[in-house]
Amino acid sequence: MIDIEQYKITEEPFYQPYGNEVAQYESAYASRLPVMVKGPTGCGKSRFIEYMAWRLGKPIITVACNEDMTAADLVGRYLLDADGTRWLDGPLTTAARIGAICYLDEVVEARQDTTVVIHPLTDHRRTLPLDKKGEVVKAHPDFQLVISYNPGYQSLMKDLKQSTKQRFVGMDFDYAPADLEARIVAEETGIDSDTAHKLVKVGEAARNLKGHGLDEGISTRLLVYAASLMKNSLDAPDAARMALVRSITDDADIRDTLDKAIDAVFG
């Protein structure tokens, strides 16, 4: 039997709402509509889903998608054991059986043929046929599918099929406004609000450079990392360089620009 408890979130994750997203999600969940959350890297999509799972008291199964992932990785496969072969449920099947929220993170990374297996679960059928096993799993009434994706890639290869897109209700996420983001950084790590504001300032500088050599700006997550480094008594500009600059770019000009921006902000 599957241990449902392991999928439950026991402690309240810190999440700072900045719009009506909580009510929106609750409303979607009430009808068990599949949800798509969009937004740049590290703006809090995953945290939000985790928070909602906690709020609703439902188990959540997260799958990080990658391009080598196949349908079998989602649905399940036969494995060998001493008595021959044995079927093992994949995470999607497990979630459908136990009534969990199944969260497919960065779903565009998965191959398109993979994403098609979620189709029967996302419409009125709410079933998952396991053709290899000859079983049709009827989704538990609490089951809900959530996918996240980052529209910033702007690549033909990294987009969802229309037929997939049309099965979801969508929610847009973005980096929080400066004051709120500073509060998030401060709250998450316990650094003082002034430093948090400065970090956000650096983040904004980097976001201005998007498209000029940076594919993505500095995420809230990285700001939190930088703040954590500072909390561990690393010198502020050093921490900022380490967490905010070195990780996101190999372009010498961008690096120097951001270094100078950090100097300007921290002095």
Binding site: L79, L209, D253, K260
Partner: protein, 744 residues
């Protein structure tokens, strides 16, 4: 003691002035120095070029001694004498006239010796000799060089000056007019080389960084342009911005005494101007006196910097280091106009809390300023009032004096505040401004301006900056049916190629068996393993299969040499190389179209470095359609082959393609050459350099050469990346196959 009467010189004018000069010079020179000075005078008198050189020498020698040491007094005369032995006697006076300013720049015996050597080298190398005999005509370069030398040495060190000179001699020695133009600093390459030789941070090197910086911090997306402090026509060239962009000095010293790098100096200017952009609202200038204006400007500068530092505290350190520190009471009100001094002190005091000034007026206004800023929400109007009050309070009779105190008052990173003012009355001469009715005809009649590329000079091992001008156009179109006809003609070949293509076509999923971890169970192997397991053997754990992508992701540019030699007839049926090339390229384009690779075709030829033509025949995003076929059909041949420039240009486009592999195929029928290049190695070496540059950008260059004698040079350019097609008639067959083999 030197007795004027004993000096051997017959010019009466010299004799007349000698006693006075000697008395003057004696204050600077020791007895030893006096002796060499006299020897110098005697040498110049003996030279027999009139009294003028001697008189100039007498005037300047003391100054030379003061700056470069008295040991240099005689060598200067000696050099003048040596010049007189060449056909350049006219240069002696300019030489002596500028030597004092040069000494002032160099301040060092060794360096001045270096300069004298440089001058003699120039004399030797540029005096014109005819029929190989001794130099017979004056150097066209010498006098311009001597005249500009003091200015140049303000920007370059002596080593840089020598390299600049060497380049000029190298490039232009065969052409007197060009030589003179180069040494007058009039030609573009002369300026470009000078820029390169300057020490410090060049704007062009940090341009992108600066643009990113202001975009990052202030969201300003404006181009940054350099102006030359040396050549700018404004009397006080300071940074500024207008509708066209942001203008900054072309170079800043690397590390000045404040420990500020050139880059940081630029950043400070950008920050300051960003502040103006954000917070300065222009005020009317008409009713303000010049004094009031500069006071208002000072307060406004301080205001926006205050606001900037509120947002970015790190800027304070930068501003503090760059802002001069005027010494209080250093400027004497009785003798000079101290307005600038006073205002700079004020500005410093506002910026630096530890200024230590005691002047009550300044302290009061600093106080007032901070009080104003503390209230928040200030405007330019607020400081306007402050500026007028300050001027009224501190006005001094000497303010309008012509002798202005400048020391420590130049705040070099601030702009010229042209955007702070607006005028009720516009300039009178506005009415006379006539719009040019006719646009000047652009050089070769194209709409796109040329792109400039450097060219590698293997003799000096340097790049000639902006040497070639590449004009690009869409190739004119012809009848596409012609190409379709060619394709029909090679129908059988096409079928053959098609078979090869099918093998190459990307098969998206490839099954990889025998995997320990994979996406699916491979039942055959799994059962075998199970049997092994049950029968007590070691089972094979590799029982899974997985799938793998097999995508082609290639961008290709085919660069065609369209030089005159293509018109040769080579085929058994009387075809020209051009026609064969058309057939081959059509087939190749068709083949690549089938494969779906990203593919562009361009042609080039050149008529001297000023006109390298680059024709787009097919763009990356274009299909192989009628337009493209039309252009291919109209392909013509003419002129020469300046390969390096065309390759750089093709590489420029290719580098912007997103692909795992980038390939530049060069199809040519001969070695690089052009009518304005006599040294046949030159363009070969340049092309070789271009290949290396492309290699650094991850572009793989490959040459398909139709010249049977190509072995002599093609490997020098392309290393091992080339094929020579001996039987040109087989080109249509070879070319697609070669491509397929290359990209398999």
């Amino acid at each position: 003691m030197v007795d004027p009467a004993q000096i051997k010189c017959n010019y009466s004018k010299v004799q007349e002035l000698l006693p006075e000069t000697l008395a003057e010079v004696r204050q600077v020179l020791s007895e030893e120095g006096m002796k060499s000075f006299v020897e110098g005078i005697e040498l110049l008198c003996m030279m027999g070029r009139g009294a003028e050189p001697v008189l100039v020498y007498m005037e300047e020698a003391a100054e030379v001694a003061r700056h470069a040491g008295e040991a240099m007094v005689y060598p200067v005369a000696r050099t003048a004498y040596q010049i007189s032995r060449s056909p350049n006697a006219e240069a002696i006076v300019p030489f002596l006239q500028t030597i004092a300013s040069v000494a002032r720049r160099l301040e060092e015996k060794k360096l001045l010796e270096g300069y004298l050597e440089t001058v003699l080298e120039l004399v030797e190398k540029t005096s014109i000799s005819i029929h190989g005999s001794h130099a017979t005509m004056a150097s066209p370069a010498l006098i311009p060089f001597l005249e500009i030398a003091p200015r140049l040495l303000g920007e370059l060190n002596i080593g840089g000056l020598r390299r600049w000179m060497a380049y000029g001699i190298q490039q232009h020695s065969h052409h007197p007019d060009h030589l003179a133009e180069y040494f007058r600093l009039d030609s573009p390459d002369s300026r470009a080389v000078m820029q390169r030789e300057r020490s410090g941070t060049l704007l062009v090197d940090v341009e992108r960084l600066l643009e990113l910086y202001q975009l990052a911090l202030w969201g300003i997306d404006e181009r940054v342009y350099p102006y030359s402090r040396m050549l700018d026509e404004r009397s006080d060239p300071r940074p500024y911005y207008d509708d066209e962009g942001i203008f900054l000095p072309d170079v800043h010293d690397d590390l000045d005494e404040n420990g500020i790098t050139g880059l940081e100096h630029y950043l400070a200017s950008l920050a300051h101007m960003a502040g103006h952009r954000r917070w300065t609202a222009p005020v009317f200038a008409d009713n303000r006196s010049p004094m009031q204006r500069i006071a208002i400007e000072t307060f406004e500068d301080s205001r926006i910097e205050y606001l900037l530092m509120q947002e970015y505290p790190g800027l304070r350190q930068l501003f503090l280091a760059l802002h001069p520190i005027p010494v209080e009471d250093e400027c004497d009100e009785a003798r000079a106009s101290c307005v600038r001094h006073r205002l700079t002190m004020l500005s410093r005091a506002i910026l630096d809390p530890d200024h230590g000034y005691r002047n009550p007026d300044i302290l009061e206004f600093v106080e007032k300023f901070h009080e104003l800023m503390g209230r928040g929400d200030t405007t330019t109007m607020d400081v306007e009032i402050l500026g007028i009050q300050f001027m009224a309070r501190t006005r001094h009779a000497s303010d309008s004096q012509s002798h202005v105190w400048f020391k420590d008052t130049e705040i070099s990173y601030r702009d010229d505040n042209r955007n702070l003012w607006q005028f009720y009355e516009l300039d009178d001469d506005e009415d006379f401004h006539v719009e040019p009715t006719e646009l000047e005809e652009a050089e070769p009649d194209d709409t796109l301006p040329p792109r400039h590329y450097p060219e590698w000079d293997y003799v000096t091992q340097t790049y000639r900056p902006d040497w070639t001008s590449v004009f690009e156009t869409l190739h004119p179109a012809g009848d596409p049916e012609f190409i379709d006809g060619l394709l029909r003609k090679h129908d059988r070949l096409a079928k053959q190629i098609k078979r090869m293509l099918d093998l190459l076509k990307p098969q998206n999923y490839v099954r990889v068996r025998y995997q320990e971890e994979g996406s699916e169970l491979d039942l055959d192997i799994a059962i075998r393993s199970l049997i092994d397991y049950k029968s007590g053997h070691d089972p094979d754990p590799r029982i899974n299969v997985s799938h793998r992508h097999n995508d082609r992701n290639i961008a290709v540019t085919l660069l065609l040499d369209l030089s005159e030699s293509l018109n040769q007839q080579v085929g058994s049926e009387g075809q020209t190389i051009l026609e064969l090339e058309q057939e081959a390229v059509s087939l190749l384009a068709w083949a690549i179209e089938q494969l779906g690779d990203n593919f562009a075709i361009a042609g080039f030829h050149s008529n001297t470095r000023h006109e390298v033509r680059y024709y787009h025949i097919k763009g990356f995003s274009e299909q192989f359609n009628l337009d493209v076929k039309g252009r291919l059909a109209a392909m013509g041949a003419g002129w020469s082959t300046r390969m390096g420039a065309a390759m750089r240009h093709a590489g420029h486009y290719l580098s912007h393609q997103k692909a795992d592999k980038k390939l530049l195929l060069v199809l040519t029928d001969g070695e690089p050459s052009d009518v304005d290049v006599r040294d046949e190695r030159h363009l070969i070496e340049d092309a070789r350099m271009a290949v290396r540059e492309l290699d650094q950008e991850d572009i793989y260059s490959y040459c398909i050469n139709l010249d049977q004698r190509a072995d002599d040079y093609v490997s020098d350019i392309f290393g091992t990346h080339y094929s020579i097609i001996d039987n040109i008639e087989r080109l249509p067959e070879k070319l697609p196959k070669l491509f397929l083999a290359l990209t398999k």
